[in-house]
Symmetry: C2
Subunit: 328 residues, 2 copies
Amino acid sequence: MLHKKSSSFCSSAVENYLIDKMNEIKIFSPATVANVACGFDVLGFCLDSVGDEMVIRKIEQKGIFISHIEGFDLPYKAALNVAGVSALAMYEAIDVDFGFEIEIYKNIKPGSGIGSSAASAVGSVFGMNELIGRPFNKTQLTEFAIKGEALASKCEHADNLAPALFGGFTLVKSVAPLKILNIPSPEDLYATIIHPQIEIKTSESRAILPSNIPLSQAIEQWANLGSLVHGLHTNDYELISDSLNDVVIEPYRSQLIPEFNAVKEAALTAGALGVGISGSGPSIFSLSKGQSTADNIKVAMQNVYSKTDIDFDIHVSKINTEGVKILK
Amino acid sequence: MLHKKSSSFCSSAVENYLIDKMNEIKIFSPATVANVACGFDVLGFCLDSVGDEMVIRKIEQKGIFISHIEGFDLPYKAALNVAGVSALAMYEAIDVDFGFEIEIYKNIKPGSGIGSSAASAVGSVFGMNELIGRPFNKTQLTEFAIKGEALASKCEHADNLAPALFGGFTLVKSVAPLKILNIPSPEDLYATIIHPQIEIKTSESRAILPSNIPLSQAIEQWANLGSLVHGLHTNDYELISDSLNDVVIEPYRSQLIPEFNAVKEAALTAGALGVGISGSGPSIFSLSKGQSTADNIKVAMQNVYSKTDIDFDIHVSKINTEGVKILK
């Protein structure tokens, strides 16, 4: 943990806060797409049309309390709730004579593969940090949020947390030490994401992956990732498209997602730059240039799943370069 | 092959040449460092203080003829010489009533691991292209040079050819189709390269590599490569330094290079941003900020090898952003 309790900390940032008037904050914590085809375990990007809302309130009673949850059935006990665990991690690192109450208005379905737990983990610590005068930077907030994410995913990773906090495209170079890079991206980049409402157990999506991979595949994957980073820097849509290939993970995990290949083909035919599994699935994302193409891809994806008996949600979103933000 | 003989080609570019006065060209074909730690098989950069010189001359007799070789003992027969094979590949793609004579003044020792064969393969086709009015772009020249490189390395790869032709840092996204990216790099980036004069058989440096690698290592490697590309784009020396790690190949190939670990440690202590094996070795490269640090690293590397009975060459070079060039 980077930040320990210290009286100097208390006397500066937090006491500054005490003369501040802000006691309550409402925030939007966005959904995110992790892995992004060739960037397994390191790359992610942030959505702006899907996300949770949370209210964080300063209260007299010391501690972290979840007072309201809407949308999905999740634990109220802070130590058992992703947003609560990250909040507790941050709370332990500060020294204040008050507590925080958290209301969660959850729109991102847990298990959908678009960073539901990351949005919860990020929202509470972002909101608390705003209420106490921003003593922590975004990398430090990610450190706290990792603790919450670990409750949901059973391991400490940041590939959804980083884009939720930083916005845009992020590359998590390493987790220990935590090093997050903000990769620029073209203005006109849109995502279309379909969430087929099936359950894939995290244990199954992990177990299906090989522990060793051919060196030749690894080379192809890192050539693609290096090229994607270059393409994002240079606004080269053609290169972004050429690079959005996952030769390592997709052949395994796509087997767990009904109609994956049909959705991929339909989206590419409709103009997608690339298509892949969002996180560990079951959501499937595409990237495209411009909103009208993204809307066409939505129709193409819908057409595939409409022929099945699987319910689905579908979202079109510009890349959100801001990340988690204050609503009021 | 991209370019076939055609009368339209002949009547435009080549006949334009015939009214040109240039019959002879002298060129500098640079040494290069391939792999660059985390970029195995895809990344490379170009040196400017080490390279071959070549004279390419238009002659009446049709065909490709190597008329003079200095420096090292190499075959004169074009079909057996790397520069000759790439020249022949290009010659077969054009339709001219004259031939080319090639003089090779070789400074890069074959087998040193700094792109000796690539410099030869690139030099002949670059020079010929200049003499016939540049009908081919650099990617097309790389296609011809690949044929020459394959004579030396028994496989078609472009990770030394690309930086020799394009200059700077290059990422070979794919060989078929050939796609080369020019990655920008900071102005003040220098390389120090030590070449211990031992022989490592290509077959041995290949055989020592595993055909499968742990997925966890692959992830670390592509995180580093993505970060290095970002660091080069953003002139972030600290990130470049953090990213110059090869967790996949170096643990194997470094065993073939005496004193590798000592050289690496000495160079890092002297201020290197990173150290790795150049190509498949035995040369060891470092990157650093500024010439004085590069010079200090030279002394540090020298000190290590001076205590052995192994002869060595050592070079300090700015990154050459131009690549192969005309001398007169």
